[in-house]
Amino acid sequence: MNLLELYNLKKYFATQKAVDDVSFGIQQGDIFGLLGPNGAGKTTLLRMITGIFYPDSGSINFNGKPFNTLKDAEKIGYMPEERGLYKKMKIGEQAIYLARLKGLSTADATEKVKHWFSKLEMQSWWNKKVEDLSKGMSQKLQFVTTVVHDPKLIILDEPFSGLDPVNANLIKEEIFNLAKNGSTIIFSTHRMEQVEEICNHIVLMNKGKKILDGTVNGVKQEFKENIYQLKAAMLPEHLMTDVFEVVKLNNNQLLLKLLHESKPNDVLQYFIQKNIQVESFTEVLPTLNDIFIRQVEGTETARTFQHIN
């Protein structure tokens, strides 16, 4: 079942079509990656999903029903790209306050905040102020305040920026745990290696429009270019064939691209005929990074202002 469904969402600003007719659905328990270059409209889209903005047109279904800003806000946890906390407020107090704003009682909020603090080894911070924390520490705190009320939908905008590898892994583990326990996670970033590692479903946006939608593997299959890597004991200098063309030759490693209708077996057959010992043979799928760049390339890197009637 889809936890969240977006239908033809539009949001125009004075000089920008920030989100221009975007539809997609996210399944319960998915770790969903929302990708796109700067200014693609990701933040505007997320703000509509969190109820901060009203869409100009289109509709959002949450949990099978039309999205109700007030009631559903308590089931959503949102961590914006620019972190926000009260600098002068004590950390424990602040976490409880934010949890209560999400509808928890004082007792519940206290218990859950304490639980998360001990889980992430933050107990000693309780009476400190946010201004005493380093960037990475406040990042951790921000994460806790986002997930403390057990939201059904967790929206994380660049959650790892500023975290060292140890803490990044800690947060990553928690994200996997939350997804395993049934939370749905939307993950907005332009760090592709993280997306490949974490997400199972991605949407790529550019200039306010959705240009790609699918599972990580599906997208890679869709964009594969029939490139294979082959390792052999000895490779001749010149490989002349109509089965494949050489992309790159490096000692005993060969990057090749299938030509015409050839199949991988044709390649192997070619080498066997030549009596060359093949050590390994694997398909090389494009990285999300390659796909991303290819899709976005050719469009202006920054959005230009446009006139909207």
């Binding site: 004075a14 703000r47 969190t50 109820g51 901060i52 903005f53 009203y54 800003t69 007030l70 806000a73 308590e74 959503i76 949102y78 961590m79 914006p80 620019e82 972190r83 926000g84 906390l85 009260y86 600098k87 002068k88 407020m89 306050y97 934010l98 209560r100 704003l101 999400k102 305040t145």
Partner: protein, 432 residues
């Protein structure tokens, strides 16, 4: 609904628990009081040590030497004879005199050329005493020349006191114009200051939430309007708390004042001090009882609350559109401060002329009425004027809050360039 309560609670308690709140609320009035006490004490002391040293007088004009005129306090002054200005300059120090007054021969109709010689500067109060003494001497001399007996002149001379009486339904009451003036002025200036001080706090709070990006987190849980109103109400409650503490403090100080100041009171008025003092106290309490205190208190609270709310929403809107740049904030705040300051100016006039058209207009116009109405509060204001003023103020508050909430909603999520007035107007009048 409970969420706006949460926000109010946070805004209120984080401010009240701060050390700076305690300091400004309790220490500032104490420091001001102490400051005044020190000034008074120093002034008294300076006076007494001053007056221990006598002043010589070389009277070439002969206004003191005439036996018919005996108005010199010989404890303070000493008539010096057989000296000129030039010769005595070198001697007065050795004779233990603080200084000397040189009065040359002059035309009695145009007395000038009088010089006070001393080694250190002469205090203001002493200069005034000397001037009044010489003036009196000249005056008596003139009387003498005209052949008028000073005693007779005293009999002719008239000083009248006009007592004002306010006729109310319950009978006549004595009124004390000065006291009404002070009460009006104090109420007006308090509302004026509170609107600016707490309005600015609202603005800063909003800007802080915006630049810290906490606003984005909070408005994903509550409506932007709730966040704005929560902040405004929370800070307003801080203001009311401060008032309450001040009223209690004033009460305590008033009962303590005679305990550590009796000495000073005595010095101030010389022998008649206690009589004068008790007279003033009696007058003050009598005057207070004639003022419609209940009405004043009610109107004060009403105009404080709604004046504050009206302006706070404007300050919140400004806070939401500016970034950390303080200069931007100042530019935008200026148009908001203008009517407050205008109200203050009209208020000072309204105290003198409570029924003038300017005062009436100012107390009806909602952007100035909170302050101006305080200027008229001790007078009988026609009920219809109060009603119209109150309705206009509440209406303005609702309208402005509705408009500014829309500016606020857009502003707190906008970063970068400050929007123009035109853009802000567009936000305010947009449909949703």
């Amino acid at each position: 609904m409970s969420k706006i309560g949460l926000i109010i609670g946070r805004e209120y308690f984080t401010r009240v628990k701060k050390k700076s709140f305690l300091i400004t609320t309790i220490l500032v009035p104490l420091v001001i009081m102490g400051f005044y006490a020190i000034i008074v004490a120093v002034a008294m002391k300076g006076n007494s040590s001053d007056s221990k040293q006598r002043i010589g007088i070389i009277d070439e004009a002969g206004i003191f030497s005439d036996t018919a005129i005996k108005n010199i306090d010989t404890a303070k002054y000493k008539i010096v004879t057989g000296e000129t200005e030039e010769t005595f300059v070198k001697k007065y120090k050795d004779q233990g005199l603080f200084g000397f007054l040189y009065i040359p021969k002059f035309n009695l109709n145009k007395p000038d050329g009088i010089v006070m010689h001393s080694q250190s500067s002469v205090g203001l109060s002493r200069t005034m005493a000397i001037e009044s003494m010489v003036s009196k001497a000249v005056f008596l001399k003139r009387l003498q020349i005209l052949g008028i007996d000073p005693e007779k002149y005293k009999d002719i001379d008239a000083t009248v006191n006009v007592q004002s009486t306010i006729d109310t339904k319950d009978g006549s009451k004595k009124s004390i114009a000065g006291l009404a003036y002070i009460v009006s002025f104090a109420c007006g200036i308090l509302i004026y200051m509170m609107m600016i001080i707490y309005g600015t706090q609202v603005m800063r709070g909003v800007t802080e939430e915006k630049t810290n990006r906490i606003a984005e987190v909070v408005v994903s849980s509550v409506k932007p309007f709730e966040l704005m109103m929560g902040k405004i109400v929370g800070i307003g409650l801080v203001g009311l708390t401060q008032f309450a503490i001040w009223i209690i403090l004033v009460g305590i100080l008033q009962s303590l004042l005679p305990l550590f100041m009796p000495d000073m009171m005595q010095q101030m008025g010389g022998d008649g001090a206690t009589a004068v003092k008790s007279g003033i106290m009696a007058q003050v309490s009598e005057g207070l009882s004639t003022l419609p205190l209940l009405k004043i208190g009610f109107l004060f609270i009403f105009y404080f609350i709604f004046g504050y709310l009206t302006y706070a929403s404007l300050f919140a809107a400004v806070g939401s559109v500016v970034s950390e740049d303080q200069q931007e904030a100042q530019q935008l705040v200026f148009p908001i401060l203008m009517p407050i300051i205008l109200g203050f100016v009209i208020m000072t006039r309204a105290i003198d002329a409570p029924d003038s058209s300017m005062a009436v207009f100012g107390s009806l116009f909602p952007l100035t009425s909170p302050v101006v109405m305080m200027g008229r509060v001790t007078y009988a204001i026609p009920i219809w004027q109060i009603a119209v003023s109150a309705i206009l103020l509440i209406g303005t508050f609702l309208l402005l809050t509705w408009l500014t909430a829309k500016i606020y909603r857009t502003g707190i999520l906008m970063y970068g360039k400050k929007p123009s007035w035109k853009e802000m107007m567009k936000w305010a009048f947009r449909k949703q």
